[in-house]
């Protein structure tokens, strides 16, 4: 490696990338590209505006005087300089010479390209009425429009905004905040008809009228009339009405700006027609992203899809060639301070849809949920949008909702109960209030990170602030903060969630690929084979996907798949729990929480012999030895002479029991025996996440069966089984699964449920989240309703755990790499 090279080979000339359009979509693509391949290109950027890339979504707060232009700049000039980008501001590209691969700007300069990225955005639509070119008539699209509006507001009184959509209302609100009398002229009968249904539109109108806006709905603009000085003075409607207007803002829509592409002979249909790799279908050297691109017949105007496109386009430009863009679902939120409005999907509905509507005009709350074939397909919320993000995720995932339908309207959100004092409305929180209790992140810090670092997605916020990155219970709050700090359409756009950054495949995709043999009958049995076959971006994955893939392999093909210790987290590799100082903790198994004098003596001797500093009784009725040196672990296991408690593993942990009918004067069933039977049947069972059971001998439920993955409660006539409870971040009460009579039936039902979870749960998904995703009805149908299916599930689980060794007493057979316990010396 350190051998001196004799002659430096000539540095190959770098390829030239030219970006036309210095806006959010194009520059985001460059950012993604520079992350993947920082040195691949000499980059030139043409921007028609004289400003560096800024957050166009936040022009409305600038207009309303809530933010300044400096605050909304995303990439200062220094960013371009740092990355060696040749930035040409105020320079508009007027022609592309595809044959010579050169672009020409309006100042006469020419630049050659190897690849060309078009991100020319869109044009505002100007109504073709007389007077549209008068002074005082503006569009609402960029900084210069905004500055013109701010200047007009300082000198004039009357403004008319033509267009009652998202942009028009934001413009009207901003001008009103700057002291103008504003009338909104709208062709349709209600406001924001593309985002709201009539009922919500009228609520919005009433609330804006209360603030002082005036509306002319169902009104067609006939002409703009000049005053004495030649400036616009009035708007004339088709019915003859004349509205005084010193300023007219046209906000009737946008049109993809594909002029340049069209002139260059690229196939255009509203926008530049691109394929799933964001390449022009006419010329593969030319890419298009953002509002100017037309993908599968759709042009997007919201930021989340544009960023998705940017990401895919960057992988193509970086010559990775793996990303594909397959379209986005979008949601909208109006950025008018104090008005809560959210809509997503098909909120209008049609003959095939059902609606759930909650309307409280006095409180100013309106919610409509649109359902088709047992799935949420649209949502329109006004006044109370806390659950917008949750509805949006239900919509994207297409999850069946029958089992939660009766509570759907009341929302659930991702909001947990702990770590942020149970708060659910981020807007009401002070900057100093803690949002993320795990990592100690305040609302103020999240807001400033969003503004200063230009963050747009939940993932961005997690990466930069760690908020919501640990337990996730504050995810709902962080999403709300994103909504009003970064602008409306913050939502992650992809319709399915990739397993990790190494692939675009989802957990389900990967599981299916592992389960399904290839045409020649061969199967994927090792992590390396999965990565190779499924085209992973990184040859050995990352710390997120390796444990997941390893679990999917061993749970799908027990006794056949290769369990890779290096793909397991340290706790499962060392069969003990790592502590903050690098020592480990050891929890031996105590069946059903029962122990004996002999076991306790051995534990005491081990504590003395290995000078274990802390001995603690756990919540799961076991004993935890803390502060064990790693090199002592094999001897500690041997001296304890007890099986592993798997307290370190994504596996069956404990079966907590009450003492039951053997001793208890209230007990109706022998819960300790039942617990021991369950534990002996299920231990050594690896799962997507940890699994905790409890068995109580009577409905007093002293073993707390109501908050366990599987909770069993004895009643006089048998046993009730509850599943998918959780006592952690968000306390979740377990749901009733079935009542059975015998111990054998308890074993079979509990085992079948857990095997279903093992086969269908995503790695690191607890039973509560798994059941929420697939629905308790589907679980009941498989585990209770289908006797043959249940027996088969139970048999598969027994097959999987049957020959699994105890890693403590048989480490070699369990594949434990014993070298790790012996430090090397130097």
């Amino acid at each position: 490696m350190d051998g001196a090279s004799i002659a430096n080979p000539p540095v190959p000339a770098r390829q030239r990338l030219v970006l036309v359009g210095n806006g959010m979509a194009g520059v985001r693509t460059l950012e993604e590209l520079l992350r993947l391949a920082p040195d691949l290109y000499d980059i030139t950027v043409f921007g028609a505006e004289p400003h560096p890339n800024y957050n166009r979504i936040l022009l409305s707060p600038v207009l309303a005087g809530e933010q300044t232009i400096e605050q909304i700049v995303l990439n200062p000039l220094s960013w371009y300089a740092e990355h060696g980008i040749d930035l040409r501001l105020g320079s508009k590209v007027v022609a592309i010479d595809r044959a010579r691969r050169r672009v020409r700007a309006d100042d006469g300069t020419e630049v050659g390209y190897d690849r060309l990225l078009l991100a020319t955005g869109s044009h505002p639509v100007m109504l073709p009425v007389t007077g549209a070119d008068l002074p005082g008539v503006v569009a609402y699209r960029d900084i210069s429009d905004t500055e013109a509006m701010i200047a007009a507001a300082a000198h004039y009184t009357h403004a008319v905004v033509i267009g009652g959509g998202l942009l028009g209302l934001e413009a009207a609100n901003g001008l009103m905040a700057r002291g103008m009398q504003v009338t909104v002229v709208h062709l349709m009968d209600h406001l924001m008809e593309r985002q709201l249904d009539p009922a919500a539109g009228r609520l919005l109108q009433a609330s804006l009228e209360k603030r002082g806006l005036r509306f002319c709905l169902g009104a067609r603009t006939q002409a703009l009339v000049a005053g004495a000085g030649g400036r616009v003075a009035a708007v004339e409607l088709a019915d003859g009405t004349r509205l005084p207007a010193d300023l007219v803002v046209m906000a009737v829509g946008i049109r993809a700006n594909a002029d340049l592409a069209q002139a260059a002979g690229l196939h255009c249909q509203r926008g530049v027609v691109v394929n799933d790799t964001l390449q022009s279908v006419t010329d593969p050297r030319i890419y298009a992203v953002g509002e100017c691109a037309s993908h599968r017949g759709v042009t997007y105007g919201l930021v989340a899809p544009l960023f998705e496109q940017g990401k895919v386009c960057a992988t193509q430009l970086a010559c990775f060639g793996i990303g594909r863009y397959s379209g986005s679902q979008v949601s909208t939120k109006l950025k008018v301070t104090g008005i809560d409005l959210f809509s997503a999907g098909d909120f209008q509905g049609d003959g095939d849809t059902e609606e759930i509507v909650l309307s409280d005009p006095v409180a100013g709350v309106y919610k409509k949920l649109v359902i088709r074939n047992d799935r949420l397909v649209g949502a329109c919320l006004y006044g109370d949008t806390v659950d917008g993000a949750w509805y949006f995720s239900l919509l994207r995932e297409g999850r069946r909702i029958a089992d939660i339908r009766d509570q759907l309207m009341f929302g659930q959100s991702h909001i947990g109960d702990t770590g942020h004092e149970g708060r659910s409305r981020a807007q009401a929180m002070a900057d100093s209030d803690e949002v993320c209790g795990c990592n100690g992140v305040s609302k103020g810090r999240i807001c400033s990170a969003i503004k200063e670092q230009g963050l747009f997605t939940l993932e961005d916020v997690r990466r930069h602030t760690k908020a919501s990155a640990s337990c996730g219970s504050c995810t709902g709050l962080v999403e709300q903060i994103l909504m009003f700090s970064a602008g409306g359409d913050y939502s992650a756009a992809p319709t399915k969630k990739a397993l990790c950054g190494c692939t675009d495949l989802s957990h389900d995709d990967v599981r299916r690929a592992i389960r399904t043999p290839a045409a020649d009958g061969s199967r994927l049995l090792s992590v390396a084979a999965v990565y190779e076959t499924l085209g992973w971006r990184n040859p050995n994955g990352c710390a997120s996907c390796r444990p997941a893939i390893n679990y999917y392999l061993i749970s799908t093909w027990p006794r056949e798949a290769i369990d890779d210790p290096q793909s397991r987290f340290i706790n499962e590799r060392a069969h003990a729990n790592i502590q903050k100082d690098g020592t480990f903790s050891v929890v031996p198994r105590m069946w059903g929480g029962e122990t004996s004098a002999a076991e306790l003596r051995r534990i005491a001797d081990v504590v003395d012999k290995y000078r274990i500093p802390t001995v603690k009784v756990t919540g799961g009725q076991r004993i935890d030895l803390l502060g064990v040196r790693k090199s002592d672990l094999p001897q500690v296991w041997r001296d304890l002479g007890m099986p592993s408690g798997h307290a370190y593993a994504k596996a069956l942990r404990t079966v907590k029991t009450c003492v039951g009918s053997e001793w208890c004067r209230f007990g109706t069933q022998d819960s300790t025996r039942m617990g021991k039977e369950l534990e002996r049947a299920l231990w050594r069972m690896y799962a997507p996440h940890k699994v905790k059971l409890a068995v109580s001998g009577c409905p007093r439920n002293c073993a707390e069966s109501g908050i366990k993955d599987v909770g069993v409660i004895g009643v006089d006539s048998g046993w009730e089984i509850y599943v998918a409870g959780n006592g952690g971040i968000k306390t979740e009460v377990a749901q009733f699964l079935v009542k059975v009579a015998t111990h054998g039936e308890v074993l079979e039902h509990a085992g079948a449920f857990l095997q279903l979870y093992r086969e269908e749960g995503w790695y690191l998904e607890r039973t509560v989240h798994y059941v929420a995703r697939v629905g308790i009805d589907s679980v009941r149908a498989r585990v209770v309703g289908d006797a043959a299916g249940r027996a088969a599930l139970w048999a598969r689980l027994q097959f999987a755990v049957d020959q699994e060794p105890d890693p403590w007493s048989e480490p070699a057979r369990a594949g434990v790499d014993l070298r790790q316990f012996e430090p090397l010396s130097a």
Partner: protein, 122 residues
Amino acid sequence: MSPSASTVPQWQAICPAEDIPQLGARRIERAGCVPVALFRAQDGQVFALADRCPHKGGPLSQGIVFGHSVACPLHNWTIGLDDGCAAAPDSGCTPVVPVRVVAGMVELDLASFARLEPVAGP
């Protein structure tokens, strides 16, 4: 920056390279010194870092190795094996110890090892 820049390296044989699991690590302990983590990547390259994450001192030798990186077992920071530095947006570096493989034997620069500064613990 490199602690060995001014002195002659003192190469000390540690173990055969195969004794480090592929995509895994071993820990080297020496009385009075900061422990060192030895890593072996998929491509066979061997790396040595002070066995302390720059974040909260987690033992990097216990992390999951992928590419030329290791994920700290305590809070999942990603540390580069080549330079000991945390991947953005996290920041901080842990010292790199010169290491080489000669005829299948891993050798470490003892002088650099002995000079590693004990860092204040978590």
